[in-house]
Symmetry: C3
Subunit: 358 residues, 3 copies
């Protein structure tokens, strides 16, 4: 069984998916029930009745409470049992874990680790979200049949775009351009500039370049699994200031990975662009082309996952471009070790009083 980093915010669902019907989703190997209180506040509980393990998602909402569909035990939104039909006393074991949630960027974020450490300030920042001058494609989702770390490998690996995505965001001019890596407290950045190159297919289609371009790829990975890609191009020779980049063809692409199981991953993504910001046809095109791009990754990584399972190894040969992925793996291992150490010395993991107003 893979361990997952628990003390982190993950996207549990897009906001529009969570409402007054009961939604069940596997997150970090656990069954999670999602719904909204009558005032709209989202709630997340373990989706398993402590009585005979019936999924609570097969029951029904009673106001802000959820009633098990098997024998009617009723839980409030902190996971505390408030009613056992047919008996007065409520056993002390009659509770399910509740998870802190935050709603931001059109998504419901979940914290499945120690609730005392849940600080909404550590959720990734998405620049220009809601900025009318930037075009937005959001609420996108793909299911990957691969462990999430194969995907984070991929998302700090600009080199693969040349081969995997030659129909959209890569082309041959990047083949021999090296990648530089920087590491922060909780992120890794892999980046390169490709100079004097023809635009990639997507830019050729959407942009307005007559000659060669200088193209940048900045791949950030915030631990454990939030990816942020700053991608764009300008006319060859233009000075690469932020202002000039904003005047060029630029996009910010966010991929929020939430492990589902050890071998599958939820892939939530959104995309911001500074071109044709108000053109919904362009939004539809971007959605289509990026979906195509990520489906290429998904198909490839499903095979990689299968071969890893077959052979029991992750790679035989390490290349220069593996610098960033290797750093992420080390940082994740360190986080897992810290969490394991904490778990040893820890007691109560209940939701602290006040997180839910029930």
């Amino acid at each position: 069984m893979t361990s997952f980093v628990k003390n982190a915010w993950y996207v549990a669902a897009w906001s529009r998916e969570v409402g007054r019907t009961l939604l069940s989703r596997t997150l970090l190997g656990e069954q999670v029930l999602l719904y909204r209180r009558e005032d709209g506040t989202p709630v997340a509980l373990v989706d398993r009745c402590p009585h005979k393990l019936a999924p609570l998602s097969l029951g029904e909402l009673k106001g802000d409470h959820v009633q098990c569909g098997y024998h009617g035990m009723t839980f409030d939104c902190t996971g505390t049992c408030v009613r056992v039909p047919g008996q007065q006393n409520i056993p002390p074991t009659a509770r399910v874990t509740a998870f802190p949630l935050v709603e931001r960027y059109g998504a419901v974020w979940i914290w499945m680790g120690d609730p005392a450490l849940a600080d909404a300030g550590t959720i990734a920042e998405v620049p220009h979200y809601g900025d009318p001058d930037w075009g937005l494609v959001d609420g996108q989702y793909l299911h990957f049949r691969s462990n999430y770390l194969n995907i984070t490998d991929n998302l700090v690996d600009p080199a693969h775009t040349t081969y995997v995505h030659k129909n959209t965001i890569g082309n041959a001019s990047g083949e021999d351009v090296g990648v530089k890596v920087e590491q922060g407290e909780s992120h890794v950045l892999a980046w390169r500039w490709i100079h004097n190159a023809p635009p990639v297919p997507l830019v050729e289609k959407m942009g307005n370049f007559s000659g060669l371009t200088d193209r940048w790829q900045y791949y950030y990975l915030h631990l454990p699994s939030t990816s942020y890609v700053d991608f764009g191009c300008i006319d060859s020779g233009t000075e690469p200031t932020e202002d000039n980049k904003d005047r060029g063809f630029r996009s910010f692409s966010f991929n929020f990975l939430t492990p589902e199981t050890a071998t599958t991953t939820h892939y939530f993504w959104l995309h911001l662009r500074n071109y044709h910001a108000h053109d919904s046809a362009v939004s539809a095109d971007v959605a289509r082309l990026m979906t195509l791009t990520f489906e290429e990754d998904a198909a490839l990584l499903a095979h990689v996952q299968r071969e890893q399972e077959r052979t029991g190894v992750r790679e035989y040969t390490r290349l220069g471009i593996d610098n960033a992925p290797a750093r992420i793996r080390r940082m994740v291992d360190r986080l897992l070790a810290q969490e394991a150490a904490l778990a040893g010395s820890q007691g109560d993991t209940r939701v602290p009083a006040g997180v839910c107003g029930a």
Copy 2:
């Protein structure tokens, strides 16, 4: 691997399913071949040739004998090999186990334990079976993706009808009515009366009640897995004598559970009623509504089974209504321990001479 109680009668098939074609069915984790002799007597053999393990059900009947479809070894209905093509001597290992069968209530009952203990007198009694004044729905079958003990839990648990079956045999008036439990040598009974209550949907549809009713639910479970439910209602305030109950709205429902594997169960059922006994439209309605009811159980218990497998536990919290299920589990554990002890001290498990006339 779950152990199953072997020294017990289980329904192997409905009588109409067994004939002169070879029927293969998994019962208690074993492959069983069922067919009839030319005189109509049913036969059950292990469905696996002792030579190279070909299923005998792929072979063919030769009179009362079955001939393997791979190399033609032929077995009589005691499982003894009577022919090996191409050689004169028959190796002593050339035999398959035969199981005692009894035909009753339109079903073929099998005994997969020690044949010396097979006593047809211990088969469940079905009152009013064949009585023209009682309406009958029989020959019904459902497949459950759940261990049989989750189903027996359910079948001594009248409380769940309020939540799981609110469209047919339950309603809200039962929510807070406790359940009483009695235990016999080889059965458990969980029962309750719900007084002054509106009729449940099925009774409302089929019965003739203008006001409130008193409703009874008597759930018997005969070890290891025969369920018998006495259910009915009378006008509120009527004295609850057997005669008055027979004049009210009453049904006897029988569910014969036969474990298929550790995680799946055959669910054979029949239903007797004292209302509209000769109305085949009512029979069709009862068949449809009870199937709906049991399918609700099947769907729920498949989820319970999945969560038990995922977590490795059966329940976290025990409630008052678990008294009867807990008794059954203990009684089954005792039976299994007895059988394990017996198996240690036992030798020959062949069908005794005379059981089969071959």
Copy 3:
């Protein structure tokens, strides 16, 4: 995990299947990539990039080389990496295993053991292949859901034809005719003559016999898994010289088994006949009838495999007809032990210089 005999030639594919597109196939539990060089020479490499395990078959051919579809590492047809995009040095681990191949009888044969031992002279001989006086059905394929040794059992077991193939190549007259067995250095032969018998259905349809026949079945199994069946019939009483047999109704049937996994097998087959050699309608009929015959085996052996997995045993009772299968199992066990001993004392398993001209 079953061991497979590695030091042997197996059919990897029919020649027509291998070309300038990348073909991936599981052979002896390994993923193998097959393609042809520009000059037509076939190439076989492990289908797994040593970098991040992407299947090379998802990449593309660049001349005689294959380029990984993930990051563009490029391998020549000896499996040596000749390019890593973005870096100059090529890590010493950057190689995949290449397998010696030989093309013969319309098939590509692979050697997955020690390449130093690969001697094309040990490939099975197929008499009359290419002889215009013999009718040929070749390029045939079936997939068996069974370990290959259950199939070799079957292919030295003429007795089963009476039962399994009574619609094509068997009939009741063989029921009690014993089988004789001879053993060579690397083959087993099981054979019998059935005298004064009506022709089997296939012969009845295709042959020209008015009375009874003498029929021979010679089942050769060359280790580890090449089957050769000499089958035919002549008018009863004719002297069984080779010349008379060639003047009768005769066929040579070859089945080349290549283990896919421990529980599945590739079944390549071809068939030569001395009757209606130039009649393509007869060829189509033979293809259809033999396919039917082998599908009967496949269906049966899938059940046998399932029962072996369920019970953990291979057979309970040994019969006289198991002499030949038992010899093969022993000879295979000896080969496996030899290979295991060799593997202990062995080093380099790379393709020796010169095998591939890249």
